[in-house]
């Protein structure tokens, strides 16, 4: 109980002091450049996933042969 109370007090302190001051990537987001990052990451991930599927299907073929 004491821990929760002191944690809550601490967090209130932080929110009062920092509520306008915490740097986040707002300009980066609003300029739309985040979509470049998303596209790159999605392409890489999709590529790896397709590769996994292809390994899986090759395996299936080998297993079927037996």
């Amino acid at each position: 109980m004491k821990n929760i109370l002191s944690l809550a007090a601490f967090m209130f302190m932080y929110s009062n002091v920092f509520s306008q001051d915490i740097e986040m990537a707002t300009t980066f987001m609003s300029s739309g450049k985040i979509y470049v990052v998303v596209a790159v990451v999605a392409i890489i991930m999709l590529g790896l996933i397709i590769y996994l599927f292809s390994i899986d299907s090759r395996l299936k073929k080998l297993e079927r042969k037996d």
Binding site: E23, M24, V37, A42, D56
Partner: protein, 220 residues
């Protein structure tokens, strides 16, 4: 193991977690800033490792009673894949630590616990390599695995919570869970965890099936 639906689900969830991870709104926290998004990537690595090690010990126990070689193969491929995810978790954690705590590594119980865990399971693989005879190798490594698993649980889950730690979830620090996780983050975090759990099992199953085929070929 040959069905596709859960693999497609894994792919969709992981892709969703990547896209949502970057585009969603996250709470603004001091020190963390945007790196809080690492939650969606760093934490699922560990959950996946835990699940794989758990499956591994289950199959190790099964092997001891069944002596079915396939159980042993599942156990070892689970450890192989689990070690890989553990290393990814360590690397991503170290980078995150460098830019939030100021150092790649701190003398922290959780960090040391995960490092020791990785070494323990690497030792499992070394142990297996040292034994030539199949059944002996499977039996001895199964017993080692059954010891290693509870030690891992203690090192990662119990000891760090008993003391002070920088790592979230221990020693008076709020963890990124229950009362402390922002609901917006839950929307991406839970699918990410589920997606990566399924991915880990998929990768393990592919390795296992390759092993089974190799064994078939070698036994002729």
């Amino acid at each position: 193991m040959r069905e596709n639906w859960w693999k497609v689900l894994a792919s969709v969830l992981v892709l969703y977690s990547f896209i949502g991870g970057f585009l969603s709104n996250v709470p603004a926290q001091p020190i963390l800033n945007e790196t809080i998004r690492n939650l969606y990537f760093h934490v699922p690595m560990w959950f996946t490792m835990l699940l794989l090690y758990f499956i591994s010990v289950v199959y190790s126990v099964k092997y001891l009673s069944s002596s079915n070689e396939k159980h042993d193969l599942i156990a070892v491929e689970c450890v192989n894949t689990g070690v890989f995810f553990g290393i990814l978790g360590l690397l991503t954690g170290m980078i995150w630590a460098r830019y939030t705590w100021g150092a790649y590594w701190t003398n922290d119980p959780k960090l040391n616990g995960t490092a020791i865990t990785s070494l323990m399971y690497l030792a499992y693989l070394v142990l297996r390599n040292s034994l030539d005879e199949e059944q002996k190798r499977a039996k001895i490594s199964a017993i080692y695995n059954i010891f290693a698993f509870p030690v891992m649980v203690v090192l990662i889950g119990i000891l760090p919570r008993m003391t002070d730690s920088l790592h979230p979830g221990n020693g008076g620090n709020p963890g990124f869970n229950s009362y402390d996780l922002d609901s917006r983050m839950r929307l991406v975090f839970y699918p990410a965890v589920l997606g990566w759990l399924l991915m880990g099992v998929w990768i393990m199953s592919v390795r296992y099936r390759i092993r089974v085929l190799e064994n078939l070929k070698n036994s002729f």
